[in-house]
Amino acid sequence: MTMTATRTQTIATRVRRRAEESPGAVAMRYKDFGIWKEAGWLTYWTHVELVAHALMALGVQPGDRVAVHSENRPEWLYADLATVAIRGITVGLYPTNPPAEVAYLLSNSGAKILIAEDQEQVDKALAVIDECPDLERIVYLEPRGIRGRYDDPRLMSWEELLAMGAERAGPLEERMASAEPGDVMTLIYTSGTTGPPKGVMLTVANVEFAVRTLVENGGFTSPPPSERDLIVSYLPLCHVAERAFTVWFNSAAGVQVNFAESIDTVQANLREVQPTILFGVPRIWEKILAQVNIKIDSASPLKRLTTRLWLRVADRIGDTLVRTGGRHTMGTRALYGLGWLMCYRSLRERLGMRRVRYAASGAAPIAPDVLKFYMGIGVAMHEVYGMSENTAIATGNRPGRIRLGTVGEPQEGVELRIDELTGEILTRHPGTFAGYWRNPRATADVLDEDGWLHTGDVGEWVEGTHVRITDRMKDILITAGGKNVAPSEMENALKASPYIKEAVVIGDQRPYLVALIGIELDTVGEWARRRGLSYTTYRDLSEKSEVRELVQGIVDEVNQRFARVEQVRRFAFLPKELDHEDGELTATQKVKRSAIAKLFEELVEGMYRR
């Protein structure tokens, strides 16, 4: 019963092979009542088979869509792999998606089956089910609040699904064997900062190219990932980056996946698992750094003194590493060794990064200072670049050849050029997507006839090898004075401060630049507490004159690093924390500029009126 005539390798065949070769080795861990339960490869594949049989019994044909609306957990992977095995298409929904977006995603993708995590997600789907005519079944994972209360005939539990798979076995082997490289295996919806989300079609061949480049050839990590590596899966799996690190790394290299309990417990889970490979979005790295600063400030005097001293040393080590591209010199190695004994070892242990051999930041631009901090304390941090449309493959900083402020060098097998006229980054490789789902016009906009993908990012070459990204093309501002300004640089410089969570620079067709700033409630709250400032709400805190002075100081300091036209003249505080539900952020916590500009028009106008 080996490899029966399976010509096309997919992530499903890879997992099947692992179940045969090392059935007892750990594939993933999930936390259950305080204990990390382990699931071996055999458990993994058995579940995938059962779900696949059940999906076939439910009438899922090749090319049909199966949607998954859940936090990261083993069932996500079981459902994804089962769908791929029967040549279906997996559609991931963000757990934070409000009902309106759920309706859009389900109806746009035309999903036949929805796998919903719990009552919350089931409720969202049931609320909009009239808008989704294709939806035939909703499978729920957690029966609490649903079983015995809901009597919609379309509902069924995960256990019932597995039982159905056990009873009604279908021609799974044949279905798997008939897989073609051109099969679309997943739709990854873009975050939609400008318009409604678009479904990026990734084919089996796209993902196989990604696996070869990123996993087997060690496109990110060096040496390539293996069964001995551990990762913590905590970012939404419907995003291409987390899918790559969780599903693809796991099935292709056998990396042990550990599912965080929730986004709030990531820090604690990281500390328990001590992963060897860690991927994060800038927001995560910024938040961890801010927390380190809070904790140092509230430590006892001796600890505060020594830790500050060693972090200053780390800063110097970081400076050197930035110069050498991440390679230690004799001096920094000795210094680091001493600091390791005194501070870095325990600091990294506390952060859950004691054993991290490769860390990456991607999916959004990050301030170089944040990266430098991690490099200084010995976490090998690399900024990488990619997008759903090219299966997350474009560039990456390679260990030992890091250029801070750049997104690295093009990956192996990737053609990358920068348009001479517009400065737009173009990529071409076998990972380029098959098009937007049911949207050929949008596809034609980004994919030209030569196969070049227009990324929409403006960039430039640094020293001929590394790529630096200036901004999103659509975000480039042209001031009333006719100057082109890339707002993200200013925004990231502002956000590097632990006190600032959001910064939106505005100034298109305006005489000068202004900024809307959202404070970081934790750090500013702690700062206010230590000064004896009492406050009630987020808004109350941000309206304090002391807080205004604090932020004014940060803005002034940042302004000095920029040319005069790029400086922020005035700023205003956002009266609330931005939120996905209110339509201000995308599911990936990116700011929707147009929505912000409209919502806070008064504030913006006020800054220009004075």
């Binding site: 019963m1 045969e20 090392s22 059935p23 007892g24 080795a25 750990v26 861990r29 305080g34 204990i35 990390w36 339960k37 382990e38 699931a39 071996g40 055999l42 458990t43 058995t46 579940h47 088979e49 059962l50 597995l162 039982a163 798979g165 056990a166 551990l230 042990q256 500390r271 328990e272 698992v273 001590q274 904790k295 140092i296 509230s298 430590a299 006892s300 600890k303 020594t306 830790t307 060693w310 501070c343 325990s346 600091l347 506390r350 004691r354 054993r355």
Partner: protein, 400 residues
């Protein structure tokens, strides 16, 4: 891995008759060991509950035990005798800690249970037909459990009082027990030899080898030291295991709030009786062993002062911790040789009991003073000091 040995059988096992659901529910991964170097990643509850849950604890505890055994060769006989006594007192202190520290029942009557153990052991191993009662059973593995059980029986008899009384009232009743016991032991000449006279204590003999005499295996003090050390380890591990079991958790629930514990389904009477019984067992064993070192028991020694000494050990060492009780016992016992040497250093303190101030008075004052100081400045005792130091470094480089 067994999966490798029979590939044909193990491959696709869900296709060999067993219903697939059963396979899906629970397939052992064949490896319950956690990945290396991740002490916080528990893959089973037994790891979470382990006594020595980190590598550092294993190493240091192992070293500590090795050093303790090594001391028997290094130290002089006089010091070994003091330490052997300290270990026995530690067993008694652990016992008091079970009832007072874990279960929260204040007991001033510990000396009474110690006395019962001491006389049970002495009577069992004493020569038959002598001046005092004796049965001639010198084997330690007979008289030691007997002494413990006799004391435990007395404890169980007293326990019903504890289920009706709380706090101060319980303390007064157990205090009465000490005076009652003192009176009985002073009057029962046939057993105790009478005040001022006393009798020979339990004879430690193990499989025919007298441990209170120099022999081919070592000097008297070395043998006694090793015996007491081994027994202390046995008793301490047993107590530690008890504390983390269902019974131990029930004790703590009763200590924290007996009504709440009862509401949660902890039978108060049963667990209070159990607490007194186990505690008295420890006391009885300690009593029988304690006097086998000096070889002589005097009924006047089981006074309130002995109870106070045990309370001091528990409070100074650390309430509701086994290692704290051991530390407290060592601290108090090592204090004695120090105070005894006071007359040589401080001229106005006399070694003569008829003169005021004498060393015994100084000792009593010191116990009281230490108890007060510890309660005021470090209620968690020596163990609390240790925890504080450990947490300081554990939370490095932050404060929490």
């Amino acid at each position: 891995m067994s999966d490798r040995e029979s590939p044909t059988k193990e491959r696709r096992p869900w296709k060999q008759g067993r219903p697939p659901m059963a396979w899906a529910a629970d397939i052992p991964t064949g490896r319950s060991r956690r990945p290396r170097g991740r002490p916080l990643l528990y893959t089973s509850y037994s790891q979470d509950m382990a006594l020595l849950d980190t590598g550092a604890k294993k190493v240091w505890t192992g070293l500590l035990v090795l050093v303790a055994f090594g001391l028997s060769v290094v130290l002089a006989d006089r010091s070994l005798e003091v330490l052997a006594g300290a270990y026995v007192l530690a067993i008694g202190a652990i016992g008091l800690n079970i009832v007072t520290g874990y279960a929260g029942q204040v007991s001033l009557g510990h000396a009474f249970f110690v006395a019962i153990g001491a006389y049970t052991g002495a009577a069992l191993s004493g020569p038959p037909g002598g001046r005092t009662l004796g049965f001639g059973v010198a084997e330690i593995w007979i008289w030691l459990p007997a002494a413990g059980l006799m004391a435990a029986a007395a404890g169980v008899l007293v326990a019903p009082l504890a289920t009706r009384l709380r706090g101060l009232y319980l303390a007064v009743v157990t205090l009465g027990l000490v005076f009652l016991g003192e009176h009985i032991f002073k009057e029962w000449d046939a057993l105790t030899g009478g005040p001022g006279v006393g009798r020979s204590a339990a004879v430690p003999q193990l499989f025919g080898v007298r441990l209170d005499q120099d022999g081919p295996l070592g000097t008297r003090e070395q043998l006694l030291y090793l015996l007491m050390l081994v027994l202390l380890i046995v008793f301490a591990v047993a107590a530690r295991n008890l504390a983390r079991s269902r019974i131990g958790r029930a004790f703590m629930a009763i200590r924290d709030r007996d009504i709440a514990a009862e509401v949660m389904g902890v039978p108060l009477t049963r667990y209070k009786v159990l607490a007194f019984g186990i505690s008295s067992f420890y006391a009885g064993c300690a009593g029988a062993l304690l006097y086998s070192i000096s070889g002589y028991v005097e009924p006047g020694s089981f006074s309130l002062l002995l109870s106070v000494q045990f309370i001091a050990m528990v409070l100074i060492g650390g309430v509701a911790t086994v290692s704290g009780a051991i530390a407290g016992a060592l601290f108090i016992s090592l204090l004695q040789p120090l105070t005894r040497s006071l007359p040589a250093l401080v001229p106005f303190v006399s070694a003569d009991t008829t003169v005021t101030p004498n060393v015994f008075q100084v000792e009593t004052v010191l116990y009281g003073l230490l108890i007060i100081l510890f309660l005021v400045f470090e209620p968690r005792g020596l163990f609390g000091v240790w925890i504080r130091v450990r947490n300081y470094w554990k939370s490095w480089p932050f404060s929490y």
